[in-house]
């Protein structure tokens, strides 16, 4: 049960990160999402396909992103993900929740340390 809960938290975080990336960078294919996250995190976040693609599928199933086949600059076929209206609503709600949670954590940890 404990493992399961932890996985859920991680999954939620991952979904939020993917959503944020797709929202700011416009239509992206899966590799670009992974690359961008790696770049933004300064190399500390390396997503492998087994984590990334189930996340993309899940977000698509929930109606937060939509996927379309398109051509890359090098004329290769790839699937591009873009955010939907529902996805934007979800993103702003999740972001607010995340910030609230983080500030609570921050406050609690600070206080306990100060003692």
């Amino acid at each position: 049960m404990a493992n399961r809960a932890k996985a859920d938290v991680l999954q939620g975080t991952l979904d939020l990160m993917i959503l944020q990336t797709v929202a700011t960078m416009g239509p992206l294919h899966g590799y670009a999402v992974a690359e961008r996250l790696e770049q933004v995190s300064g190399g500390s976040l390396q997503l492998n396909m087994g984590t990334l693609y189930p996340g993309l599928v899940r977000l698509e199933q929930r109606g937060f992103i939509r996927a379309e086949w398109d051509r890359t600059e090098n004329n290769r076929r790839a699937r591009y993900y873009s955010i939907t209206a529902a996805g934007r609503r979800q993103l702003s709600a999740e972001k607010a929740e995340w910030t609230r949670m983080a500030s609570i954590m921050h406050a609690v940890l600070q206080k306990e340390e100060a003692k």
Partner: protein, 880 residues
């Protein structure tokens, strides 16, 4: 929340489809990772490895995506089902046999249940049916649900627990003329508040209102079914006039399609106001008759009113009425009887109980019987599946060796069982619809078809689904668990032993259940035989019964009757013809008497059954006249008053003296009647009837009752009767035509239904058990070929081998027989009331059923054992 639902819905759909382009996408990802590695200056030989290191493997990722795209267990189940379906398709014989026996078992259960649903469970489509209660009067064990109009009025005005009380009377078939030709309609009389109490409103025109109770007016409301059948749903039907008897009625409204009236199975076409009862029935009105019990009464409890409270109020009112009645009785016995009357309120949300009372007991017993048949079918399938599982030992072993868990293997075998159950269940629905229909025809018994709505509703469908799944668990769980042991138990012999133990247990169970069914069938069968071989006091062959509808004819009453009898007697082929108030009676009419030379005790029952008949009545029935004579043409209204009594009467009031020449006097009559004859006791109107003292009087010597029927002996049919009637008056027509045999068999409908159906199911169970034993023993012999071969090589004789197999069968059969007898002793008592002339523990039936079953079981085992005896030791050993 919506997002989650969307996800699950898509995962559900995804279970059935393949992802499109997922592999391409993943490969593209890897290529991009390789290019990245190249940019970073990795050596060409290292590209693929580095990319894999960063992005992971395609296979694993594809698996993870698939997991997200679908629902895991559902996918497993689909794969199992597909696998199961392939396996089942490989053995069509087994599959067909399994599905057929399941369809029979489940279908029989569903059919009986749909009847139980229609007759006993289904609520009426009216406003808040659970607030409806029916008035029922109990006098000792006698249960009566009909009351006089004055009593109904009293209830209506003096009871406060109800929002309203309705009354109705099923008139039955009447002739109505909408055009030129009269047509038969099913009529009922209803109180003005009938529709408002039920909360049913017209879909065209209007219904009756309370005003109809005060001001009789010739109006009628027709049912939707009749509107459709007779008028093709013509919207102009409201306002149409038609003639019934001598009155012209106007149709004022149509009731909604789902409303069939308050009596399950009756479905009247036309409803008339109760206050028009004289006009509708074509005789004197019964509205003022205090002694006539004819109206069925249903009340709607006030909202929030408890049944107990209403019951208390009704009991108080009724006990006042009963006490007043008792004070008028002089005979202590009758006073006692009057005081013992109780009025009870019974739930009527599912309609009046006429059908329920008649059929609930047979239906319950049948439900039990078909449940047992299904159990046998399940045991059979379980045994067959055991055999199959043994044959698949290798496959299962391999699956478990490559890591399938036991639960997974069991689930796979269950999926196969579920396939069988679903196929059987679907087939069973067709079978159930058809056979429920056939049963309704049988229950209608040659009369007007009982209008039962047996279209399967949600309850019936859920029932069928539930027993299909229940059956699936029953027959496939044990074999599946058994089979899943194979792989993990290296000592195969042990598992084999356990399987054989389970198989023997199943044989014993089948034998036990089948024996219960056979004994039940035997008891019902003997009941039927008893009824047919009973001394009835008359000759039932070649007798035709009918009544004559003379509503529109010019001749009436005794004049018409004399004319008809005279004409009938002149037809060649008709040996004799007569008429009786109850043509096959005495029934329904009794009266108090005084008898010459007999003193009644103060509390003695002085009532006898009565019947008024025309001359030649006993000659037509071929009832022997023991002493004196029967009625003849001399016994006219002006002649000396005479009576004929039955032997029971003579025994009771005259012991061994002759009653001839003695007088009897009926209470309310001034003249005494002289007894001129004694006839044999007749068991009429039903042969299940107990014989009681009865007295017959000449119809000519009594005021015309206005009802009765003709009885004719000879080679005669309806056409001949109609011809004779037409010659007298074209407007006369025959009604209720049936032969005496038909009438009698109608009277023992329940016994016939139980006798035939229990026999049918008993035979079915025998078949299933024989096939089951044969299958199991054949499988045993095949499995033990090697052992048998060795035994024979060591000198065992064929008959010893046969004996060995038979002994192995005999043990479970013996256990089954003992259990079965014990079970039957406990269960047959339930049916005691439905038996006639045979005890529920009848030893002959028990012995016969046991012998039959054991013989068949051993025969079924003998066939494979003979094959074992014929085995050639050399060949069997070479096989290995």
């Amino acid at each position: 929340m919506r997002a989650r639902l969307r996800e699950w819905w898509l995962r559900f759909l995804g279970t059935f489809t393949r992802p499109d382009g997922m592999e391409d996408e993943l490969r593209f990802h890897l290529e991009m990772a390789e290019q990245e590695a190249l940019r970073r200056g990795a050596p060409p030989g290292e590209l693929a490895r580095q990319a894999r290191l960063r992005a992971g493997g395609v296979t694993q990722a594809a698996e993870a995506v698939r997991e997200q795209r679908s629902i895991g267990w559902l996918g497993d189940f689909l794969r199992d089902s597909r696998h199961g379906a392939r396996l089942l398709a490989k053995s069509p014989l087994f599959t067909t046999a399994a599905i057929l026996s399941l369809a029979l078992g489940i279908g029989a259960n569903t059919a009986i249940f749909s009847l139980i649903d229609a007759v006993m469970l289904r609520m009426m489509p009216v406003h808040e049916p659970e607030r409806l209660v029916q008035f029922v009067k109990y006098r000792e064990t006698d249960r009566r649900g009909s009351f006089s109009y004055p009593l109904y009025r009293r209830f209506r005005s003096e009871l406060h627990s109800f929002d309203g009380l309705l009354a109705r009377f099923p008139v039955g078939r009447r002739e109505a003329s909408f055009g030129v030709e009269p047509e038969i309609v099913n009529a009922e009389l209803v109180s003005g508040n009938y529709y408002s109490v039920l909360g049913v409103s017209a879909i065209a025109g209007r219904t009756f209102d309370e005003d109809a109770d005060r001001n009789p007016s010739p109006v009628a409301v027709i049912s939707y079914a009749f509107w459709k059948r007779r008028f093709g749903m013509d919207p102009g039907v409201v306002g149409r006039a038609f003639r019934l008897n001598r009155t012209v009625f106007t149709i004022v409204g149509v009731t909604p399609p789902e409303f069939f009236g308050v009596a399950v199975g009756e479905s009247p076409d036309v409803a008339f106001p109760l206050t028009m009862d004289g006009e509708v029935r074509g005789s004197q009105s019964m509205l003022h008759c205090v002694g006539c019990g004819w109206l069925q009464v249903i009340g709607r409890l006030r909202a929030g009113q408890s049944l107990t409270g209403a019951q208390a109020e009704v009991s108080t009112l009724f006990s006042g009425i009963v006490q007043a009645q008792a004070q008028r009785e002089e005979n202590g016995l009758y006073r006692q009887e009057a005081l013992s009357q109780r009025m009870r309120l019974e739930p009527a949300g599912n309609g009046l109980d006429t059908l329920r009372v008649r059929f609930s007991e047979p239906l319950r017993i049948l439900m039990g019987i078909v449940a047992l048949v299904l159990l046998i079918a399940c045991a059979n399938l379980a045994n067959l599946l055991l055999g199959r599982a043994a044959a698949r030992r290798r496959e299962i072993g391999v699956r478990m060796a490559i890591g399938a868990g036991r639960g997974r293997v069991i689930r796979q075998l269950l999926a196969e069982g579920l396939l069988l159950a679903v196929a059987g269940g679907v087939m069973s629905l067709l079978l159930a619809c058809w056979s429920a229909n056939a049963l309704v025809t049988v229950m209608s018994n040659g009369g007007a078809r009982i209008a039962l709505n047996i279209r399967p509703d949600l309850r019936v469908l859920s029932f069928a689904a539930a027993i299909s799944i229940g059956a699936c668990l029953l027959f496939s769980l044990a074999p599946a668990i058994q089979a899943s042991r194979v792989g993990i138990q290296p000592v195969l012999a042990e598992a084999r032993g356990a399987r054989w133990r389970l198989g023997r247990g199943l044989i014993a169970a089948q034998v036990a259940i089948s024996l219960v069914l056979l004994i039940g069938a035997g008891l019902f069968g003997r009941t039927l035989l008893r009824l047919y071989s009973l001394e009835t006091g008359f000759d039932r062959s070649n007798v035709l019964l009918f009544s004559v509808n003379s509503d529109h004819a010019s001749l009436r009453g005794s004049e018409l009757r004399a004319r008809i009898l005279q004409d009938l007697r002149s037809i060649p082929g008709i040996a004799s013809a007569s008429y009786g108030m109850s043509p096959i009676g005495p029934s329904g009419w009794d009266g108090s008497i005084t008898v010459e030379g007999y003193t009644f005790g103060p509390n003695e029952d002085d009532r006898v059954l009565l019947n008024a008949v025309e001359p030649d009545y006993f000659k037509t029935l071929r009832t022997p006249v023991v002493l004196g004579r029967e009625f003849g043409p001399r016994d006219t209204g002006s002649g000396p008053k005479v009576a004929v009594v039955n032997e029971a009467f003579a025994r009771r009031y005259f012991r061994d003296r002759s009653p001839l020449g003695k007088w009897v006097n009926m209470t309310g009559e001034t003249d005494r009647r002289e007894i001129v004859g004694v006839v044999k006791d007749v068991r009429l109107p039903s042969i299940r009837q107990q014989v009681q003292p009865a007295m017959y009087i000449a119809l000519a010597q009594r005021g015309d009752p206005g009802w009765g029927g003709y009885i004719v002996r000879g080679t005669v049919n309806r056409a001949m009767v109609d011809g004779a009637l037409k010659r007298i008056d074209p407007k006369l027509r025959s009604d209720d035509v049936s032969t005496l045999e038909e009438h009698l068999s109608r009277g023992i409908l329940k016994e016939r239904v139980m006798g035939t159906l229990s026999g049918l199911f008993g035979a079915l169970s025998l078949l299933l058990v024989s096939v089951g034993i044969y299958g199991v023993m054949a499988f045993q012999v095949a499995r033990r070929q090697k052992e048998i071969g060795i035994r024979m090589a060591l000198g065992a004789r064929p008959h010893q081998v046969i004996g060995m197999v038979l002994v192995e069968t005999a043990a479970p059969v013996a256990i089954g027989v003992i259990t079965g007898v014990a079970g039957a002793l406990a269960l047959t008592r339930v049916a005691e009331k439905m038996l006639f002339g045979v005890k529920p523990t009848d030893p002959l039936t028990f012995a016969a059923a046991g012998t039959l079953l054991v013989t068949l079981a051993l025969t079924a085992a003998y066939l494979p054992s003979r094959a074992a005896g014929r085995l050639s030791p050399v060949e069997t050993l070479r096989c290995e």
